[in-house]
Amino acid sequence: MKETVLLFGPEKSLVGVITDPPPEARRAERPAVVLLNAGLLHRVGPNRLYVRLARRLAASGLVVARFDLSGVGDSRPAGERSGFAERAVAETRACIDLLAATRGARRFVVGGLCSGADHALLVAGEDPRIVGVALLEPVSAPSTAQVIDSYRDRLLRPTSWVRLLTGRSEAWTILARRLLARLGPRPRGAAAAPPPAPPSDAGSPGDRMRRFAERGGALCLVYSAGNPAHYHYRTVLRRQLDGVPADRLRVEVISGTDHVFTPLDSQGRLIDALCDWARTVAAEG
């Protein structure tokens, strides 16, 4: 196994690490894997998860790239003005182009945790070279029930109530900000610029997953049991994905862990599940 660190992208400003399998395990027809930033955590991933995962996948013969999006980790902020999701898609495709040019890869798997999962799904809708997406704890628009679910722990904690009653809770800041936004002057004309347009493959995450599976893509969804993303899967996504063939969709639910898979045994289970799924995708060649 060999690791290379490099700057790539149109401005040579994106920091990436490519993990190559040992020469005897390398097969050009196998898909290459790209891992996308989890929120603002840099390319090593939460708890160094992406490094461990990349090395395990490389040991089984897959080339893996991890990189920082513009303004995240060690990559320079982008000079141009564009939406974050739009840029994430373009930069992920730049990473795919790099692996195609330098490693001869023709098929790709993209994946990530949290916002990394959302970006992976967006780019999968735009790039036909992507044959698999690994979505770990994908973010979703929270429903009221989800918000209550996610705040359950805090509501049961006496310190939360003390903070609320003594005015030190963030709830007050949020409330004040909302009130000010309502009472304050409303932007008019040119000042009220519309938010940047989302990437062309709009629609709900469930729609995008379904379309991806319909064109033959393989999906792997991994959840931390009882977390908001899992709740969204159980209450919304599962129904939307009804009818997707079992060989196109794998769902793993890992218990006793959190959103970033902190306990080591849960990281082990997560990596085992992803490597097993990646092997089946690689075998589809």
Partner: protein
């Protein structure tokens, strides 16, 4: 900024070189020594911005990952304090070559500050030392880590009863094997009566034992300053969410930059 691997070919370490971007290059290189584990991830953004500020002020800056950490070679269970000090010594040689100057400053955060003191003991070319919330007492530090990990396990165990038992030695997502634990336990900066380098800044963002470090004061002709910066320690896991690493303690970064600029005109 230029990323590269350095050190032994079989076990390369990740380095990130921030060359001087300001109008006046300074003849001193600055090496930044990371904290450990969960604190490393949370502090990454702040230390990257610190490096940018220092480069903007004319310094060559080198950040790097220790063996078994970040992007460097090595499994998570292979990291040892003794090895990390050797890594830092190799990083110093890289920095001296990059800066074209044998004069160096070390900036260490938390456990990185403790390593910086150990390195300064060995390397007289370390003229300037910034210790940011240093871990002065290894036993106390481990107690805090264990307590934070316990809270994390309890929260997770609530979601799946009976799962958080018989864990291997670990702390907040990172292995903490017994040999490393023993090395951390032995960290005791109170053994240093006087300042460990000619010019030392001890910066604290929370009141800990670091205020009492080096009671013997500065070396003859040197300086020892202590500064307190109010605000949330960026490396610490709070009760809000997993993403406190997005916060950057601008005031602390300014103080460190200004101090080094004053010291190295």
């Amino acid at each position: 900024m230029r990323p590269f691997f350095f050190g032994e070919t079989a076990e390369p370490l990740l380095g990130l070189h921030h060359p001087p971007s300001g109008p006046r290059p300074r003849p001193v290189g600055v090496a930044i020594l990371n904290p450990f584990g969960d604190e490393y991830l949370r502090a990454h953004r702040s230390l990257r911005q610190l490096a940018d500020r220092l480069a903007g002020a004319g310094f060559h800056v080198l950040r790097f990952d220790y063996f078994g950490c970040g992007d460097s070679a090595g499994g998570d269970r292979e990291g040892r304090l003794g090895r990390w000090i050797e890594d830092a010594a190799v990083a110093l040689e890289e920095l001296e070559a990059l800066a074209g100057s044998p004069r160096v400053a070390l900036v260490g955060l938390r456990l990185g500050a403790s390593l910086a003191v150990r390195l300064a003991d060995r390397r007289p070319e370390v003229e300037y030392l910034v210790l940011w919330d240093p871990v002065g007492d290894g036993r106390l530090y481990l107690k805090e880590l264990d307590a934070a990990h316990e809270v994390c396990l309890r929260q997770n165990a609530r979601r799946a009863a009976g799962q958080a038992e018989a864990q291997p030695p670990e702390c907040l997502g990172f292995p903490l094997p017994e040999p490393l634990r023993a090395e951390i336990e032995a960290v005791d900066l109170s053994r240093h009566a006087g300042a460990p380098a000619p010019h030392v800044l001890v910066l604290t963002t929370e009141s800990r034992e670091s205020a009492a470090l080096f009671p013997g004061g500065a070396r003859p002709g040197g300086s020892l300053e202590r500064e307190r910066v109010p605000g949330m320690p960026v490396w610490m896991r709070g009760d809000a969410d997993a993403m406190e690493g997005t916060l950057v303690p601008v005031e602390a970064l300014e103080r460190i930059t200004n101090w080094l600029v004053r010291q190295c005109p």
